[in-house]
C-alpha cells in the first residue's frame, strides 16, 4: 500500500521540505560543486595564481602509480572490512538471537564500539598493538612474530583492518539481530517439521530472509570503509608505511592538506564521489529487483 498525504496548501510541502533541502544544499551540493570547480584548476606552489586547465588534473592523476596503488588499497580494504564485519556480526547476531542467559549484557557490550569515534578507536587499537608498549604488540613480538605496523606494510594493513572491522561490527550486529527477530518463529518451526536440520534451516530460510538487510548493510559498509575509516587510518598509520594504508579518501586528504595540491585533491574527491554514487545506484537497483518479498 502506498501512503499518500494530501496537503491543502500548495506551499506547505515545500516549506516542510526546506530545512532538509537547505542542509543538503549547504553541506553536499555546494561543496561538491566547489570540488568539481577546483578539480579544473591548477594553483602555483605559493597559492598566488590559479589557472583553469580543464582535465589536466585528472590526466596527471591517471598517470600516477601512487593513485593506482590507493585504488588497489581501497578495493582490498573495503572488501576485507565489509566481508569480515558482516560475517562476524551475523555470527554474533545468530548467537544473540538464541536468547541465552545474559543475552541483554551481551547485546549491550556488542553495541558499545559503535559509540566510539573512529579516531578514538584508532588510538585504542594502536595503544594495544604498539610494538614496544602495547599489550598485544609485546605479546606478538614475544611469541616470535616480527610485529611492527610502523615498518611492515602487511602489519599496518592488518591493524587498520582490525580496528575498522571492530568498529563496524556493532552497527551490522544491530541490523542483523533486528532482521533475525523479525523472521516469524513459525517459519523456522515449519522448516523443522519439514525435515530441515539447523544448518539447512539457516541457509534455506533464515539467510534468504536476511538478504534485504544484508544488501542494505553492504551499501552502508562500503560507504563506511570509503569515508569513515579516515579517522582510524589517520591516527594509526597516517597512510603509511609507503602508502600501504593510503585509501582514496586518505589520499584526498594527504594531497590536498599535507601536499597543498588542491587541484589534484579535488579531482580525486570527484572521482571518489562518482565511484560511491555508482556503487549505491547499482545496489539499489539490485535490491529493488531481487530482494523484495
Amino acid at each position: 500500500m502506498e501512503k499518500r498525504t494530501v496537503f491543502s496548501h500548495k506551499l506547505l510541502p515545500y516549506a516542510l521540505l526546506a530545512p532538509q533541502l537547505l542542509v543538503t544544499i549547504v553541506f553536499f551540493y555546494w561543496p561538491a560543486g566547489q570540488a568539481v570547480y577546483q578539480s579544473f584548476l591548477i594553483q602555483d606552489a605559493f597559492g598566488i595564481s590559479t589557472e583553469f586547465v580543464w582535465f589536466e588534473n585528472y590526466r596527471s592523476l591517471f598517470s600516477d602509480p601512487a593513485y593506482y596503488s590507493a585504488l588497489g588499497v581501497t578495493a582490498l580494504f573495503s572488501t576485507v572490512v565489509t566481508v569480515l564485519s558482516l560475517s562476524f556480526a551475523l555470527i554474533l547476531a545468530v548467537e544473540a538471537d538464541k536468547s541465552l542467559k545474559g543475552a541483554g549484557i551481551y547485546k549491550t557490550l556488542l553495541i558499545w564500539p559503535y559509540a566510539v569515534a573512529p579516531a578514538v578507536a584508532g588510538v585504542l587499537w594502536l595503544f594495544m598493538f604498539q610494538p614496544s608498549l602495547g599489550v598485544f604488540g609485546k605479546m606478538l613480538n614475544a611469541a616470535g612474530f616480527n610485529w611492527n605496523p610502523y615498518l611492515n606494510s602487511g602489519d599496518a594493513f592488518a591493524l587498520v583492518t582490525a580496528a575498522a572491522v571492530w568498529k563496524q561490527i556493532s552497527y551490522n550486529f544491530l541490523f542483523f539481530l533486528a532482521g533475525l527477530q523479525s523472521i516469524p518463529k513459525s517459519l523456522i518451526e515449519a522448516a523443522a517439521i519439514d525435515g530441515a536440520g539447523p544448518t539447512r534451516r539457516f541457509w534455506s530460510i533464515v539467510f534468504p530472509m536476511l538478504s534485504p538487510t544484508a544488501f542494505y548493510l553492504l551499501t552502508v559498509n562500503i560507504v563506511y570503509v570509503f569515508f569513515d575509516t579516515f579517522g582510524i587510518i589517520h591516527t594509526v598509520t597516517r597512510g603509511g608505511p609507503a602508502g600501504a594504508t593510503t585509501t582514496l579518501v586518505y589520499k584526498v586528504f594527504s594531497d590536498g592538506q599535507a601536499g597543498g595540491d588542491l587541484g589534484t585533491s579535488a579531482a580525486e574527491s570527484v572521482i571518489l564521489m562518482l565511484i560511491v554514487i555508482g556503487l549505491t545506484a547499482l545496489q539499489f537497483r539490485f535490491i529493488e529487483r531481487k530482494v523484495t518479498y
Binding site: P184, S186, L187, E189, A190, A191, A192, I193, D194, G195, A196, G197, R200, S204, I205, P208, M209, Y293
Partner: protein
C-alpha cells in the same frame, strides 16, 4: 497406520506456568480429533507437544506405538498447518510444497508428481509459480494444506488453520478439509476455539478448560450429554440456557414442574437447550413437562427459525428459545414455554458436574 496416544501429558513452562495437566486420550488410526476450548486453555501447547515443538514435561506421547517425547519434529513423520500458514515467503508455491520432500532427498521426478497431484486436488495449478505474497488468504491456506499433504505424513496437525479467513471461506474450507482428510485417511489433530468448526469436523471431540480435559466423545454425544456446566455452555450456539436452583431460596418465579428434580443441598443448575423449549399453545397435556413463563424482550425471525429472548418470570435469568418456522408473538408479551423431561440437564452447582436423572 498411526494412532496418537497421550498418557497423562502435562506442560509446565519456564517460570512455573502450568499450561496443561493430566491430559490422556487416544486418537485411532485415521481419526479426526478436534481440541476445542476457550483462549489460553492450552490447546496449542498440547498440539505443539505432539509436533515436537515444545518439550513434554509430564507424561508420554506416542505416535504409531512409538513414544516420541524425545524425538525431533522432523523424525515424527507429522505435518502441521499453522494459523498464519508459515509459508516460506522467498519461495514459489511449488518450492514451498517441494521443500519438505527435497529435505528428505526425494527424487525430483517424484517431487514433481506429488506436487502436481496436490495442486490438482487443491486447485492450485495456476499459482505454482507465484510467491505466497501474490496469493489471497484462501489460496495461501490451500498452499499450507498442500505442503502438508505432499509429504504423506502419518499425522496431520492443525492449529486454527481457518481463523484468518472470512466466514464464507471458512465454511467452504471446513468442508474441504473434512473431505480431504476422509480421502487420505490420515490421522488428524485439529485445534480450534470455534465450536461450530469443532462440531462439524470431529469424529472425536476433546473439550479443554484451563489446561485440563473437561470431556471427550463424539460431538453429538457431547451435545446431548454434556458432563459439566462448562461443556454445556461451550458447545452449541446459542448456548444452553442455565437456571440456578437453590433449595434454600426455592423454585424461581415463572418455573413450574421442577419440584421433583434431584437438587442437591448445595444447589444445582438446570440446563435447557434453546431448541428444546416450545411455545405452550395451551392445547396439549402438560404432563411431566417443565413450564417456563418468560417475559419476552425481543424476537428475531431469521426465516427458517425464530428466536425469542426473554427473562424467566420477568426478573429471572435471561433465556433464549429457538422455534422452527415463524412464531407470531407480540414483543413485550409474556409467554409460556414447555420443555420435555428427556431434554433437560441438571448439574451440581458446587462441582459443575452432571447429575444423572
Amino acid at each position: 497406520m498411526a494412532d496418537v496416544v497421550l498418557n497423562l501429558v502435562g506442560k509446565l513452562y519456564a517460570g512455573n506456568i502450568r499450561a496443561v495437566s493430566d491430559v490422556s486420550f487416544a486418537v485411532p488410526d485415521g481419526g479426526f480429533c478436534v481440541l476445542v476450548g476457550p483462549s489460553g486453555c492450552g490447546k496449542s501447547t498440547l498440539l505443539r507437544m505432539i509436533a515436537g515443538l515444545e518439550t513434554v514435561t509430564d507424561g508420554e506421547i506416542s505416535i504409531a506405538g512409538r513414544v516420541v517425547n524425545r524425538i525431533e519434529p522432523m523424525h515424527r513423520d507429522i505435518a502441521m498447518v499453522f494459523q498464519n500458514y508459515a509459508l516460506y515467503p522467498h519461495m514459489s508455491v511449488y518450492d514451498n510444497m517441494a521443500y519438505g520432500l527435497r529435505n528428505r532427498k526425494t527424487p525430483e521426478a517424484e517431487i514433481a508428481a506429488r506436487v502436481a497431484e496436490a495442486a490438482r486436488i487443491l486447485e492450485l495449478e495456476p499459482y505454482l509459480k507465484r510467491r505466497p505474497k501474490q496469493l489471497s488468504g484462501g489460496q495461501r491456506q490451500r498452499v499450507a494444506m498442500g505442503r502438508a499433504i505432499v509429504r504423506k505424513p502419518q499425522v496431520f496437525l492443525f492449529d486454527e488453520p481457518l481463523s484468518n479467513l472470512d466466514a464464507k471461506l471458512r465454511g467452504q474450507m471446513r468442508v474441504e478439509i473434512k473431505t480431504l482428510q476422509r480421502q487420505l485417511g490420515v490421522t488428524s489433530v485439529y485445534v480450534t476455539h470455534d465450536q461450530l468448526e469443532a462440531m462439524t469436523l470431529a469424529d472425536m471431540l476433546v473439550v479443554m478448560n484451563r489446561g485440563r480435559i473437561e470431556q471427550i466423545g463424539e460431538p453429538l454425544y457431547l451435545y446431548e450429554n454434556p458432563a459439566t456446566i462448562f461443556v454445556a455452555e461451550f458447545i452449541g450456539a446459542p448456548p444452553m440456557n442455565m437456571i440456578g436452583l437453590d433449595p434454600a431460596v426455592g423454585i424461581p418465579a415463572g418455573l413450574s414442574g421442577a419440584e421433583s428434580l434431584p437438587v442437591p443441598p448445595t444447589g444445582a443448575m438446570l440446563g435447557i437447550r434453546p431448541e428444546h423449549l416450545h411455545l405452550d399453545r395451551g392445547d396439549g397435556e402438560r404432563g411431566s413437562r417443565l413450564r417456563l413463563e418468560l417475559k419476552i424482550d425481543a424476537i428475531e425471525a431469521v426465516g427458517a427459525e425464530t428466536y425469542f429472548y426473554g427473562h424467566l418470570g420477568s426478573t429471572g435469568p435471561r433465556l433464549v428459545v429457538r422455534e422452527a418456522g415463524r412464531g407470531v408473538v407480540p414483543t413485550d408479551g409474556a409467554r409460556a414455554f414447555l420443555a420435555d423431561r428427556a431434554h433437560i440437564h441438571l448439574f451440581d452447582k458446587a462441582s459443575g458436574r452432571r447429575i444423572e436423572m
